[in-house]
């Protein structure tokens, strides 16, 4: 026992050094490059670029569509988690395994196949076209891609909580005469809310940053369906580094804000338990 405290220490300092070297080289230095570039611009110029009409329209498309995708997945994900945990039916395992497809499938493939299927002569888009609904190459297409990319989050955050939740509370509520609806609102939903909100926030964050699937399914037209990450690439292609940096910094700040919110929700959820 006398030897052990010294030995692991030597091993650990080694691991520490590699960890920090790696983080500095591949994470801190690149992040600093962005911050330093943003700092060299005058506040007036940053404001001018950040509130440029095209930039403003991309925030609208990016954040609002990601929010709608996150909320829709909040509802659908909750139902999906419920069905996968509480019900037994044939094919359940396949459904469960398929939930992770958006994590495993490269986004370029997702964008490609979604844009084909939801185009006006595609399998699903063709069914919507007679009603005047166009999906591919419109903002609705951006929404479909964002729903796809953020689909697993709510399911995967809610599932473990639901699995550990006992059915006793529900049964007690029932036996005391509560309706199914009341039982759901008063007994089942409250302990699940932190998990649902965490999943929605994670999905939102992922959808905001998404590039691959959206760039393929969208028409990328300013003021219509152009998202902020595509605007960054367009600015870079025009060698407008200041423009790219400012829009990139806005995206980065929003991501950090969402990360903070997720941590707060989780801290709140822990206190709840």
């Amino acid at each position: 026992m006398a030897v052990s405290p010294r030995q692991p220490l030597s091993k650990i300092s080694w691991a520490w050094q590699i960890t920090w070297f790696y983080l500095i080289l591949f994470l801190f230095v690149p992040s600093t490059a962005l911050v330093l570039k943003a700092v060299t611009l005058s506040p007036a110029k940053i404001w001018h670029i950040a509130t440029d009409p095209v930039a403003l329209s991309t925030y609208n498309v990016t954040f609002l569509t990601a929010l709608v995708a996150g909320v829709l997945n909040g509802f659908a994900g909750l139902i999906t988690a419920w069905v996968l945990v509480r019900y037994e039916f044939p094919g359940k395992r396949l459904l469960d395994a398929a939930i992770d497809l958006p994590f495993a499938l490269p986004t370029a493939v997702a964008g490609l196949t979604l844009s084909t299927i939801y185009s006006t002569n595609g399998w699903i888009g063709g069914l919507l076209a007679p009603y005047g609904i166009k999906v591919s190459f419109t903002r609705l297409g951006v929404l479909v891609a964002m729903i796809f990319i953020s689909l697993p989050f709510v399911v995967r955050t809610v599932q473990p909580v639901l699995q550990e939740m006992s059915v006793e509370g529900e049964e007690a509520a029932w036996s005391m005469g509560a309706s199914r609806w009341q039982t759901f609102w008063r007994v089942i939903l409250p302990p699940l809310m932190p998990a649902v909100l965490t999943g929605v926030a994670l999905g939102f964050s992922r959808a905001v940053g998404e590039y691959g699937s959206v760039v393929i399914i969208a028409g990328n037209i300013p003021f219509k369906d152009l998202i902020a990450p595509v605007l960054i690439i367009q600015r870079l292609e025009q060698f407008d580094y200041a423009g790219a940096t400012v829009v990139g910094s806005v995206l980065l700040l929003i991501s950090l804000l969402v990360l903070l919110i997720i941590n707060l929700i989780q801290a709140q959820g822990r206190r709840y338990q």
Binding site: K11, L105, W174, R180
Partner: protein
Amino acid sequence: MTAELPESKSQATAGIDWVKGGLIAFVVIYLALLLFVPAANVFYQAIQGGWPGMVKVLTSRLFLNALKLTLIATVISVPLNTIFGICAALAIANKTFRGRTLLLSIIDLPFSISPVVAGLMLILLYGNRGWFGPLLQAGGIKIIFALPGIVMATIFVTMPFIAREVLPALEESGTEQEEAAFTLGASPWQTFWRVTLPSIKWSLLYGLILCNARAMGEFGAVAVVSGNITGKTQTLPLFIEESHTQYDNQAAYTAALLLACLAIVTLVLKYLLERNTAVRRTYH
């Protein structure tokens, strides 16, 4: 109250099957519209042109170059991330120190940053007009629009995968066995190979599978730094996008089929690991 109880309960039980059916139907339709139909479409579109069409794409120079570049970038970035992930987990696991939570958040940070922003950072750093641009040009080193940039972009977006899988496994297995090995005279290296590694192998494999899938499929970050020079700095996802914009459906879907197969293998391995080992399922 007591008189009503059996009635209300039987009502609820009778109603449940209807609700159950409705909810299952909803989930099946929801997943079909977003996952199953799009996945089936990849196979359908790729096979539509028949074997000759697929073989022609698979043997084309552009496709082979893209495949080669994707494999090279993956073979470099995944092992580097593995070393980092294991080291970070060893350094953090079973220890309490100030700023531990902050460090964990920092390691997870790349998952929150848009891949395009990650690519932008590398351009601002190593691009011709970037901070190190003049220095690199003087030294004749090319990072942006070349392999090193693609590797760095891939490393950035896949950095947390291994660390966040191995860390909980290390915490769960504790330090007792390692300490026992030390006291019995094993060197740190021996202890790592004989004691530590076997206790984390399934979690490590799980992280590796996810890291590999993301590395091979990364699009946004690579699109920014690669310059997408056809036949030179074009990875498979970029090949798919370019084929698509040039209306070469056969090429786009043949490459997509290959990556879709990779995704299915990933899902199957992930499923088997979750079912047969103590690996806990995580989400990113």
